[in-house]
Amino acid sequence: MTIFKEIKQKPLEYFTLLLIFIIGGILFFVFSFDSHSQRRIIYLISGAYLSWSLYHHYRRGDLDVSIIIEYLIMVLLGIIVISSTLL
């Protein structure tokens, strides 16, 4: 599957994902300088992305352990990098 093909095939799913990112991004800036809340927002964005991926691959019929691990690592990478800048 390619990026554009994927989006064209499941526009609603990707719109939901975009909404998660936009809302998360806005909340992050609303809570500027509040590292406690910002950390919680990152956990929420990551959790929502993980849930979205499970639903997305379940619907696609290719939900597999290797795919779950890939998402977990991606989410972990995001959390670790952002958290280290929010002392």
């Binding site: 990026i3 991004g25 992050f28 300088f33 992305y49 290797s66 990478l77 670790i80 800048t85 002392l87």
Partner: protein, 281 residues
């Protein structure tokens, strides 16, 4: 060499139609490398204190003036400076450094009100604002004024006095400046009209600290941020190359959603790029 590199970036049968750098094991390696970078920063901070950290030009006098300036903008009366309240604010900041925490209540259960009592300030109403990692007083005040709860404390007409603690130290392994504002109205309603601290007075109290502040410092967060940004741009680039080649070759494969990954990494990258230094509580 070309073949060797292509396996890392271009999906092909040799890498199971997914750029090798995007395989979970290699993504895990990015995490390991980033954590190693963090450990090195932390170790360096401990081994060479004062080299990595935040340089701050915040003084209690500037905080006092700007707090009253915010009140005066709204036609409110200014707060009187109280050295007892400043002592409680300083004690609170020192306690946060000593017990390595960043919150209104300490891990041992001490609340802000315990510090008021400790210095003998009896209040009818009191409040606390906290800030750390800010370079200048202006941006710190802006951050407080943008937050509903902190703004409420600064503009609260029930408060008549203020005390400020600006203390430098090491929190979570990083050298930083903690600013504590303690607001209050004494229970006996006798307001002290002490002179606010001058910059000279601060220098005489914190000669050692100020000399450290004047030394050029590199923010450890800036290093972490830069490494994170470079890493994310690199991974997004590889994801796009991988996606483009897959599109060109019309390959079907069982992997995570490239669009999802690019979106997630992009949002994290944007947050990294636009977050501003400093934190309030």
């Amino acid at each position: 060499m070309k073949n060797f590199l292509s396996v890392w970036f271009i999906p092909q049968p040799k890498n199971n139609y997914r750029a090798l750098l995007l395989h979970p094991s290699f993504l895990g390696l990015f995490i390991a490398l980033y954590l190693l970078n963090q450990s090195l920063i932390k170790s360096f901070t401990i081994a060479r204190p004062g080299v990595l950290g935040y340089s701050s030009e915040i003084t209690d006098q500037k905080v006092f003036i700007q707090t009253n300036s915010e009140r005066q903008k709204l036609g409110l009366s200014g707060l009187s400076y109280n050295s007892t309240l400043s002592a409680s604010a300083t004690k609170k900041a020192e306690d946060m450094f000593k017990n390595d925490y960043w919150a209104h209540s300490s891990p041992t259960g001490r609340t802000p009100w315990d510090f008021f009592k400790e210095v003998g300030y009896r209040y009818s109403v009191a409040g606390e604002n906290l800030a750390k990692d800010f370079y200048d007083t202006e941006s710190m005040m802006q951050a407080w004024m943008k937050s509903t709860t902190h703004r409420k404390n600064i503009l609260d007409t029930r408060y008549q006095e203020i005390g400020i603690g600006v203390v430098n130290g090491v929190l979570n392994g990083v050298k930083t400046t903690l600013v504590v504002q303690h607001f209050g109205t004494p229970v006996n309603a006798v307001i002290s009209h002490e002179k606010p601290p001058s910059d000279t007075a601060v220098v005489s109290q914190n000669v050692q600290v100020l000399s450290e502040i004047s030394a050029p410092q590199i923010s450890p967060v800036a290093i972490s941020k830069t490494v994170g940004i470079i890493m994310f741009i690199f991974i997004i680039g590889v994801l796009l190359i991988d996606g483009y080649i897959t599109l060109k070759n019309r390959t079907n494969r069982m992997t995570g959603s490239s669009a999802g990954h690019v979106g997630f990494l992009l949002i994290i990258l944007l947050l990294l790029l636009f977050t501003r230094q400093g934190s309030i509580f």
